[in-house]
């Protein structure tokens, strides 16, 4: 049986990789993927704790995270594709008509 702390540590590592990925990478697709990684790290931690508490509530949350992530990916890819159609390049530095 894998100790709980290892799983939570794995979740924290995934979360950190995702967070750094969003902040460092320039390609919206990769940034989006990194953000989804943060979500999945949270789902993993929820399931790990739910197992250790012998409770269902955390697993319900994980299910809902997965379902919502699917919807978010659908919308996200659609927006990214439509932006790509406008400028045929996909680089967050080039997508910067709006000064920010």
């Amino acid at each position: 049986m894998i100790p709980l702390n290892w799983i939570v540590g794995l979740g924290a590592a995934l979360f950190a990789i995702g967070a750094v990925g969003v902040m460092v990478r320039k390609n919206p697709l990769i940034m989006f993927m990194a953000a989804e990684m943060m979500w999945n790290a949270a789902a993993l931690v929820f399931v790990a704790y739910a197992r250790s508490f012998h409770a269902m509530s955390g697993q319900v949350m994980a299910f809902i995270i997965i379902g919502t992530a699917a919807a978010e990916v659908g919308i996200g890819l659609a927006i990214i594709v439509s932006v790509y159609h406008h400028r045929h390049r996909l680089d967050i530095d080039e997508v910067s008509q709006l000064k920010g």
Binding site: P28, M38, L98
Partner: protein, 469 residues
């Protein structure tokens, strides 16, 4: 049998009927707008009926949702926001046939945020609010609109990730998903502290507080005008409501964990937001920075952490939202076919259309907090709450922020009342639906400033209820 959740159920049914209307009347889908507006009205009537029912407050689905006076007030506010956005964008073909459906879906998310008492419901509310707004932000199909949608999406997904991880750690520290069952005294400390910090950062991201505000101006500027209105009003209501509900229900006795931090953020936000608003040349960006500063005012109500703070926050949301509705309606009229308006475009507005200039003046003065407008009363209650909480720093920050803000809001008015450089411009069209929003918002803003008693009564009832929970 309770009818507690029927405001939400009626919106679900309304979404279905609107979808059917879009499918049946494909191209010329003004029917969908009418169905959407009817849904909002019906949901509002049920909310008012719920207000007088004896069965509240009530906790449903194993304490997952709590319907009380607070959630009903939030319902009312977001219904006003949705009605305003729908009518400002009334039957405008530029935003595509799905516009009313998406507005109603985001409305449902905001209503869910008002009654959440559980991590699952909190998350569903946040996402139900965000997902339609991503699409709406990108719905114009132009380069800027797509860019705004992309930025909103990336930052939204990022902040939701932070929020979720914080919730996961809190779940690990406490073993429960329900806010009211969280027991900070018996939590594993580092885990609970990290979880609370991440959760608050995630929520504050959505609200647009200063270190996490950088996405707001870009998204507000690029999005279509009605959508920006909706974000500036509705999203702020939803995020403030859930932040308050989460902190006051879950961590009420341990205010030392979050109160001072939020207080510093509030002062920083009020000052920085208003200072940056001074430098803007685009009216939408100016209002975006004003939205950031106003989020800081709202945070004062939360970090004061007493009944007066809760009351002041709930009250302040209404004049802020009304001023936003009025200002954006004016921008929509003056901009016409375009999607943004620079300060220079306002030059000579008082001579082209005196009424529009007058309405813009009322909206701007209310945002700045001049007496006889609703914004003044709201700021007064916020300062009162900060003083009763024995936090004079918050009150001083609010006053300094408001004074800087006054300078920022006077600049567009100065342009509007100066003479244009000769060339005669085309007359401004007044769309019927937008005019109704504009007139109602302006009249209500002045009404709130002159005679705020009825709203204060409602808000008092709501906040007191909430505090005794």
């Amino acid at each position: 049998m309770t009818y507690a959740l029927w405001p939400e159920y009626s919106v679900v049914i309304g979404v279905f009927v609107t979808m059917i209307a879009v499918m049946v009347f494909n191209r010329r889908s003004i029917q969908a707008y009418w169905v959407g507006l009817a849904t909002i009205v019906v949901s509002g009537i049920i909310t008012i009926a719920d207000w007088s029912s004896k069965s509240l407050p009530v906790a449903l689905y194993g304490h997952a949702v709590t319907v009380d006076a607070f959630s009903l007030v939030v319902n009312g506010l977001v219904l006003v926001a949705a009605a305003g956005a729908l009518m400002i964008g009334w039957n405008d073909k530029r935003y595509g046939p799905d516009f009313p459906v998406l507005v109603l879906l985001a409305l449902l998310g905001m209503m869910v945020l008002g009654l959440a008492n559980n991590f699952v419901v909190l998350f569903i509310g946040i996402e139900l609010l965000s997902l339609p707004l991503y699409i709406l932000a990108a719905s114009r199909g132009t380069g800027e609109s797509g860019e705004a949608g992309l930025k909103y999406l990336l930052l939204g997904a990022f902040s939701s990730g932070i929020l979720l991880f914080g919730l996961a750690l809190l779940y690990g520290a406490s073993g429960t998903l329900v806010f009211t069952h969280l027991d900070p005294a018996h939590m594993i400390l580092p885990l609970a502290g990290a979880g609370l910090a991440l959760t608050v950062v995630g929520l504050v991201f959505k609200l647009g507080i200063v270190p996490f505000h950088m996405w707001i101006p870009d998204v507000y500027e690029g999005s279509p005008l009605p959508v920006t209105t909706y974000m500036a009003f509705g999203t702020k209501v939803g995020a403030a409501a859930i932040l308050m509900r989460f902190l006051f229900f879950g961590f009420s006795l341990d205010a030392g964990w979050w109160g001072p931090a939020l207080g510093y953020l509030a002062v920083l936000t009020m000052v920085v937001g208003n200072l940056l608003a001074l430098a803007q040349k685009d009216l939408k960006r100016l209002l975006a920075y004003s939205g950031i500063a106003n989020a800081g005012y709202l945070l004062v109500g939360i970090s004061a952490h007493n009944m007066f703070g809760a009351r002041a926050l709930l009250f302040y949301l209404l004049p802020y939202g009304l001023a936003v509705l009025a200002a954006f309606a004016v921008i929509q009229f003056v901009a016409g076919e375009r999607d943004s308006l620079s300060l220079d475009d306002l030059t000579g507005l008082a001579y082209r259309s005196p009424w529009l200039a007058a309405f813009l003046t009322v909206a701007m003065l209310s945002l700045a907090g001049i007496p006889l407008t609703g914004g003044f009363v709201g700021k007064f209650y916020l300062i009162q709450a900060a003083l009763f909480a024995n936090q004079p720093g918050l009150a001083i920050g609010l006053v300094v922020g408001a004074m800087v803000g006054l300078a920022a809001y006077v600049r567009p008015l100065q342009r509007a009342f100066s003479k244009a450089a000769g060339e005669s411009s085309e007359p401004i069209r007044w769309p019927v639906a937008g005019s109704i929003v504009l007139v109602v918002a302006v009249v209500a803003t002045i009404g709130l400033g002159v005679y705020p008693a009825p709203v204060v009564h409602i808000v008092n009832h709501s906040a007191a209820f909430y505090w005794l929970h």
